[in-house]
């Protein structure tokens, strides 16, 4: 999609959820956003979110630290977003 001229104006709606210090820095636990359809991967989305303000910038400052899940399944930065409905960002897990 990203190689067609009109792609940059296409958007789609996704639910974003945040946990722990990612949630605190972003300033909300969840939101529904219209994201550019041109965003292909988890890393693309994280970089796009970083442009949305200071809180996002702080949350995604170190891109190698924040983890993601697509529809409740762990996803690496290079994973394609596909048609995921719920996308989560969070710090490394510390359960158990």
């Amino acid at each position: 999609m990203s190689d067609t001229p009109q792609a940059q104006t296409d958007t789609r709606s996704v639910k974003l959820v945040y946990f722990a210090w990612v949630r605190e820095r972003v300033g909300r636990p969840e939101e529904t956003l219209a994201i550019p359809a041109s965003l292909a991967t988890v890393a693309d989305l994280a970089r796009w979110l970083k442009t949305r303000g200071e809180g996002y910038e702080a949350a995604f400052a170190d891109e190698t630290v924040v983890r993601a899940a697509l529809d409740h399944v762990h996803a690496k930065p290079q994973a394609p977003l596909g048609d995921a409905r719920e996308i989560a960002f969070f710090p490394p897990m510390t359960g158990g």
Binding site: A69, H72, V73, A88, P92, M93, T94, G95, G96
Partner: protein, 152 residues
């Protein structure tokens, strides 16, 4: 064998879970249990707050449990993980694995804990004994190392 997964705010009773897993069965030779408890960190901690990702927590632990069930001949597998506030001395997590032989039960429980630590979406934050809110507990690289002992 269907693994039992529970994510709950309430405490749990390992004794009852162990008894339930082997009740009425005469083919189980080994039951390994792991109980993870909240430490008080030499008196500096008043509680741990456990945040989790509802929905994904259950799904992810179920995936890890299915992987364990595929790798070892298990006759029972259970994981309980609490969320919310947990006080020092209280239980946080319980894993039980039952098999005909001890090696499978030990390895499956060990594997479950390594993956719960690194893959289950839970985050711990400290509440300090002096009344202040501490930071989020940082992930330990040795937990990742532990999980990488298993080839999956």
């Amino acid at each position: 064998m269907t693994p039992t997964i529970r994510i709950q705010r309430e405490d749990f009773d390992p004794a009852a879970e162990i008894a339930a897993m082997s009740a009425g069965r005469t083919d189980i030779g080994a039951v390994v249990s792991f109980s993870g408890l909240c430490r008080d960190e030499a008196g500096t901690l008043s509680a741990l707050e456990l945040e989790h990702y509802p929905g994904m927590a259950e799904a992810e632990i179920a995936r890890v449990a299915a992987e364990a069930a595929a790798r070892w001949p298990l006759m029972g597998l259970l994981a309980i993980h609490r969320h919310g506030l947990v006080r020092p001395g209280e239980q946080i997590v319980l894993v039980l694995a039952a098999s005909a032989h001890r090696r499978a039960a030990f390895e499956a429980a060990d594997f479950m804990m390594d993956y719960l630590k690194t893959r289950a979406p839970f985050w711990k934050r400290e509440h300090r004994a002096d009344g202040t809110l501490g930071g989020w507990v940082e992930a330990r690289s040795e937990d990742d190392d532990a999980a990488q002992r298993w080839t999956i």
